[in-house]
Amino acid sequence: MDRIYEKLAAIVGKEFISNAPEERYLYARDQGVQQASAPDYVVMPDSTEEVRQIVLLANEERIPVVPMGGALVLSGLTIPLRGGIVLDMKRMNRILEVNEASHYVVVEAGASHGMLQAYLKKHHPAVKHSVPDAPPVATVGGNMAIHGSGHLSQSEGGFHSEMVTGLEVVLGTGEVLKLGSCSTVPKWFSRAPLPDLAGLFLGWNGTTGVITKIGMKLFPSPKLKDVMMFMTEDIDSVTDILFRVIGTEMAEDIAFFVSPMPAYFDGFQLLMVSVVANSEKEMRMRKELIRDSVQSYLDDKEAGFLPLPPHMKVKLVEAPQKNLSEFADVMKGGGFEYVGAIMPVEAIPEAYRAGLKITEKYNITYSMGARVVGRGHSVMFYYAYPFNRADKENMGTVAKALEETNEAALEMGGIPWKTEVSGQQLILERMEPGTYHLMTQIRKLLDPNGIMNPGNWEVRS
């Protein structure tokens, strides 16, 4: 048995390390179209101390460390591009503290959104957290680290990374730090008023350190939920309709989507508006104000509300929605990957047209849409392309479409989200040199030996 294996086994226990072909095969790839690259070891730590020891060992041995959460990123960010250690964080999934009065929760980074949701529902039903569209095994740490968004991103303050109230991290050097109020007092309520260092670990794809604990905002959880579906055939009116609905401040979540399937949806732009309330009276009032905000479109018969049967409503008020995962089987092939571009709201019509052009060019099917983030400060516009995992040619076509979509998103003023290495290159090509220089300086400081997820956020020489 090799020396590094033995040392890692001494840290986490023999049952939680593997260099077997089976684990190396599976952790070499994700659900997207990125090329596989196998780790040398898959290791599952159970504590911050174990993470620290692993990182120290990786420094000694100069081998890469790639933190992994729910294994759902799709764009290859947890594929170990230069081998080394994949750090599967899902054993670190404890819920450490819920503070209802100050509306925050502290969890270990490998805690899943689903388990947190179930825990809050049972023990703290008055509060809830923002749930991403990802399957419920998506981890809090992974989703925060990639600037994820969720069903409260519209109404409650933006990307999930903006809901972080504190972090515990292990730097690439092996130092353990706390960031936010928890660095100074034993509470995790806020990143302000201290210098905001949490950003050094959010959006960096694990290149600056390993997030081990997270403080995160909670929000009130009204009892009643409903959903309204607004449809129009005019893409150019979508920005205005969103502005009006956002302006009511009555909606919890607002998402726009288009899809050629089922056939009766083709050609329509659909807006899903989720509404929550504490009483029937409040619910009626909220829905009425939303309806009033778009009344002129209704009067002109340019758009309308789609009646939703109860069984459909039940599915639509769920967070996360299971039917989003069903999209992976559209091509009967178990795959989809998407470009999620963070862009200004007014870019929606152009983004939609660009998407249609690309899917037409590559003759691939699609789903497009956008979630409003932060009461209209931006949208996460997604272009999702399903593919057949058993059809290499189809996967190659989708890979090309994704790359072209990344370029198109940047051209229209958006920035690809959690993007694969090729998308990162496109971003870095356009980034201010000073900004990139600062990024590299910070990485040198936090990870002097360059062991943290190398290959990401690096300009190719």
Partner: protein, 386 residues
Amino acid sequence: MKQEYADIVHRCFRCGWCKLPTNYVDFNCPAYLKYRFETFASGGRMWLIRAWLDGDIETSERLGQILFSCVTCKNCVEACALPKIKDSLVDIFIAAREDLVEKGAVPPAVRDYLKAMSISGNPYKKPRDERSDWAKGLDLPEFTDQEYLFYVGDVGSYDELGMKMAREVGKLLRDTGLSIGILGSAEVSDGNDVKTLGEAGLASHLMQENIRVLRERGVRKIITLSPHGYNAMKNDYPSLGGRFEVYHYTQVLGLMVNDRVPKGTLDVKVTFHDPCYLGRWNREYWGPRFLLGSVPGVRLVEMDRNMQNALCCGGGGGNFYTDILGTGADSASQVRAREALDTGADILAVACPICHKMLDDAVKAEGLEGAIRVMDVAGVVNLSRG
């Protein structure tokens, strides 16, 4: 592997819904719960099977461990997001096991179990004439022309706790006044777990042999002790020519015991553990609860994971015999024992001899003997009768 499975194995997206129950409480796939590597989740297994079929990975001891640690509990089937492939998930895992059995590349514990079943007709390597020992002194007649056959199976015949459970159920069936008989030493293994462990040929042989005996005796209605036997007789036997009316004992007693058996009052809190082969495999959730509810003073409390979301005891899919999952704090049985304790229940009620043994051992391993007691449902009813 059957072409129909080979053709769809790549359609798993590995989205991970299969790891959790539908209420997301905690990991609900026993193999993943214990090992935590992505490879041990149903999605990971699907991807590895595909890689194996494509020649990207080789047959290995590790692959055997990954495939045979599946307890066939069907949590993944319940939770999977892909309606067009979800129903085939466990069938695909069993088909992959069949391929490993054919190649002779199974873990030693699986090999030993199959060898014992092949040579002795039971996993305990005990003589056939001991099959009737559980019924000694119960005054249960041998089946001749009674309305029902009470079939106890391997665990009820040979395992100490299984035998105790068979006696409790047999006693209650007898006192209910049902017309029942038993086969005793003429019983043949039901074949359910041989099938799930991938020895399709031997399973078919055992099932056909059982059908022959049942037919010769003129059996028309069967009450089983084990949900595993119930599943095989209900779902596999008809395609082999064995058409019987099959009931699990909780289904029969749940409806009848109220009127026919006088009961005293208990002052206990009971939580019920749904057996996978009764619950998710056959959608029977209420029979055992009706039976428990028939006892005055029983306060039924549910665990967070119940009915279609129940956590398997870890003994399904042959693991009861092979113990590939093993013990430890993250083993399904020990997690389940703690979950039962969290309800505040005095009794953890079971309706399967395999669950009974798995959870009884888990309660001991967790040092909870003084805090919670594992009893089969019939045993709870009998307890009230003094």
